[in-house]
Amino acid sequence: MELFRRLPDPAAREALATEFLALAEYFARRFSGRGEPVDDLTQTASLGLLNAIDRFDPERGVPFSTYAAATIVGELKRHFRDRGWALRVPRNVQETAILVNRTVSTMWQDLGRAPTVAEIARAADIGEDDVLQALDALQAYTTDSLDAPVGDASTTAAESIGSADPSFQVSEDWLSLAPALRDLPERERTILYLRFFEGRTQTEIAGELGISQMHVSRLVSQSLEKLRRLAEEV
């Protein structure tokens, strides 16, 4: 507690980070084995820990370890939400897809636009056909992981996304265009509505829902795919 009173002194921050590093490492391990390298998870968890240190309010009577655990798990969940995907892809494709996914995510952020296949291939040092195959796999397989529980089973990644805009309602005449829209999860319906009925760009939707453009692109693809499957079942 003494250390918290000395914040934002960098030395105190550093000391706290060292003291609670084991906590970050513990949660990083708990989230391992899901297709993300442990190093990345540890880094993500450590970031969560630093955020917890910066935001912790000792006056509120919550033990720091409790607060830090929640923040770290939140950070890890966000990590999986941005990169999350199911594990059914064949192994070699899966490894390439992890690499491509990470490369795309970084480049999209750095460039401020989507990279080209050639740019991704250069950055990841793999063939362009491998990039295309990986992108296809990523588009196809993310749906499952979004519906799957992340971390503890109480919230799914999709629910976390939806929390950005819980009050959204879509108009009836729009739903009549494609009746299967009614059977889509609400946030997928929301994204399709914004994209195709209101004509919003991916960038605008990303801003509104607080998720990355890459994620919006994937959700659009997957929602359209799901919609088609639903329509076929009718």
Partner: protein, 131 residues
């Protein structure tokens, strides 16, 4: 319609399974044109929607896809050998797949050429980006 020189054309059986082949082909061509991946995905999705409209007619046995392109624009046309007559253009242009294609591309069109089956095409220009 700009009628760009054809770069690639392909014929596949008119079944849902082969739509994946069309998606892969169009994505491969778009990648070679150095389009960013979000636009490649838009094009891939638009092909899927166009194919679904043509397959909906139910009387086609094969689908033809031609891809024309210049430096800045890709023009994709899907034609079925279906005989459905008349090609219900009004119903097509008020459908969900049409709305989606319009959102994903710059221009969408439904045609029926003399002696050919119904066709759906779209044009997608490279969005201006600072490189």
């Amino acid at each position: 319609m700009t009628n760009l020189p054809t770069a690639v054309s392909v014929d596949v059986p008119a079944t849902a399974v082969f739509v994946q082949v069309l998606r892969n082909v169009v994505a491969g061509v778009a990648a070679r044109l150095d389009l960013p991946i979000d636009q490649i995905e838009d094009i891939r999705l638009a092909v899927t929607e166009a194919a679904s409209l043509l397959l909906e007619q139910g009387d086609a046995t094969s689908l033809h896809m031609s891809i024309g392109r210049d430096v800045d624009t890709m023009e994709v046309t899907l034609t079925s050998d279906g005989r459905s007559d008349p090609w219900p253009t009004d119903r097509v242009t008020t459908s969900w797949p049409w709305l989606v294609m319009k959102g994903l591309t710059d221009e969408v069109r439904a045609d029926r050429a003399e002696g050919a089956g119904p066709s759906i095409g779209f044009t997608k220009g490279r969005e201006r980006v600072d490189r």
